[in-house]
């Protein structure tokens, strides 16, 4: 207990950074992932190919490798200098977007065909149909799996601890530098994550029950 109370400031700062990383990359990956899903169901074969290619590559690459690429390899290309923090945001967002895309696409597949047909009969264009009719319904059915993806993103932020980005994964290093109790420090970090994740799991179950019968 004393590890936590003596370093409360450190713990709060670190978890604050974790939440910040999580929030920004969650928004970015949701936007990018939805766009990718739109590409993957578009009538233009080339766009579908681009979406599929992106998802295949990113889903089969370890997140750590994406991090290594953006932190160690990208600066060698001397394109645009980015800080490690930005690199972490980019890596997390690009990686998670591939999973968001798959979730959204599976949601689109659950929307009955009649919805798209009726939209066409009313004369809506593809983008209108997707944006106003299909996606709103798809996103509803997609809340539980999307929550799982977001939980995974929250946990994945700790990968940044190998790349000089301060967040909850670095509490160990800070404690070790002070000569503090690393073992119990790590247990407290784990408890911190359980506290963050469990409410999300609960929300997920509630939505699953409430929205599963909506259609």
């Amino acid at each position: 207990m004393s590890v936590l109370t003596n370093n409360l400031d450190l713990f709060l700062r670190a978890f604050g950074q974790t939440l910040q990383l999580f929030a920004v990359s969650a928004v970015l990956s949701l936007v990018l992932g939805t766009l990718l899903a739109a590409l993957r169901v578009s009538p233009v074969p080339v766009f579908r190919g681009i979406g599929t290619g992106y998802v295949t590559v990113l889903r089969n690459t370890p997140l750590t490798l994406v991090f290594v690429f953006f932190v160690f390899a990208y600066p060698l290309l001397e394109i645009l200098k980015i800080s490690e923090y930005t690199a972490a945001l980019v890596a997390l967002s690009l990686y998670t977007a591939a999973f968001v895309c798959e979730v959204v696409r599976s949601g689109i597949n659950t929307v009955p065909v009649g919805q798209a047909e009726a939209s066409r009969a009313l004369g809506l264009t593809f983008t209108q149909m997707l944006g106003n009719v299909v996606l709103p319904q798809a996103l509803r059915s997609v809340v539980p799996p999307m929550t799982s993806t977001m939980i995974a993103l929250l946990k994945n932020t700790t990968v940044a601890s190998g790349f000089a980005v301060f967040q909850a994964g670095n509490i160990r290093e800070a404690l070790a530098d002070q000569g503090d109790d690393v073992l119990f420090g790590l247990i407290w970090v784990a408890i911190g994550f359980i506290i963050l994740v469990l409410p999300l799991t609960y929300v997920q179950q509630v939505f699953e029950k409430r929205w599963s019968v909506a259609r």
């Binding site: 766009f47 089969n60 750590t64 290594v68 160690f72 689109i108 946990k155 994550f193 799991t201």
Partner: protein
């Protein structure tokens, strides 16, 4: 498939799609050309920076690194499958004193980030006098995390079977264990095989986290060779392309196996077709 979101294109739409296709290809090509230009301008593919490929020592260490990644994967996968089977059985138990602790353990290990678990086993435990090698720390963490996820997969698979299966088995006079091992498990395993394999892909990718606790796997090898400034002038780009290709190749091989099994399942009449919506989505990220 959702390919019914649009009509068969008419002449005007075809022209429009062609224009968009050209624009799309141009955009992607422009991006690729730009990146390749940067490669050339910053001289990433100079003979000095590609020289590492020629050294026998480095080639052998690459084989070693792949071997380390694969052995962590193999041991982790076997342990995770066993862990998952045991805890799924425990969660399905009729006795609350078995069910509840198993549920708590599974939920807790699913909520803790894998990195924190690896840190705990590698940096935390030595303080309590238990020293684990990096390999053990990686494998144990992979087992606990992926095992918990797999436990949920197994459980969902068994719960998604039609109730008539177990009722009929009980009506035939089978005991609980017999119902489970002879009737439910074989069907559930077949139905869940694609999901199980995609979780194994996640496990394979997660071995790369061993990088963070100095386990000598493929990614660590890559950063070591790629960061070698005195001998090869920091060939990070070329090395990382090789490493990424190996990871993607290995994962695609497993994914391909999953799709193959799924296709074979679809043809097989013995497999009960579980509605995908009945299975709670697993965070396979």
């Amino acid at each position: 498939m959702s390919m019914v979101l649009f009509d068969v294109p008419g002449p005007k739409a075809r022209v429009r799609h062609k224009i968009m296709a050209v624009v799309g290809i141009a955009a992607v090509l422009a991006a690729i050309v730009y990146v390749v230009m940067r490669f050339i301008v910053t001289d990433q593919f100079s003979s000095r920076r590609l020289d590492w490929i020629n050294y026998k020592q480095i080639q052998l260490s690459l084989v070693d690194a792949i071997g380390n990644t694969l052995s962590a994967f193999a041991v982790g996968a076997v342990l995770a499958l066993a862990f998952g089977a045991i805890f799924a059985a425990a969660r399905l138990s009729d006795h609350a004193w078995v069910r509840t602790p198993a549920a708590v353990i599974v939920e807790v290990f699913r909520a803790i980030p894998l990195v924190i678990m690896m840190f705990f086993f590698y940096y935390g435990l030595p303080q309590a006098g238990i020293k684990l090698t990096a390999f053990t720390a990686v494998v144990v963490s992979l087992m606990l995390y992926n095992g918990s996820v797999l436990a949920e997969v197994f459980r969902a698979g068994i719960n998604s079977l039609p109730k008539g299966q177990s009722e009929a088995a009980y009506a035939l006079g089978m005991r609980k264990t017999q119902v489970m091992t002879f009737v439910l498990l074989p069907q559930a395993l077949r139905a869940m095989l694609p999901t199980i394999i995609s979780q194994l892909v996640v496990l394979l990718k997660d071995t790369a986290l061993g990088f963070l606790i100095t386990y000598e796997e493929l990614l660590r090898w890559g950063t070591r060779i790629g960061g070698d400034a005195p001998n090869f002038g920091r060939p990070m780009i070329s090395v990382m392309i090789v490493v990424a290709a190996i990871y993607i190749g290995l994962c695609l091989l497993l994914t391909w196996l999953a799709t193959y099994l799924e296709k074979r399942n679809r043809r097989n009449k013995k497999v009960i077709h579980v509605d995908a919506d009945d299975i709670p989505e697993m965070a396979s990220v």
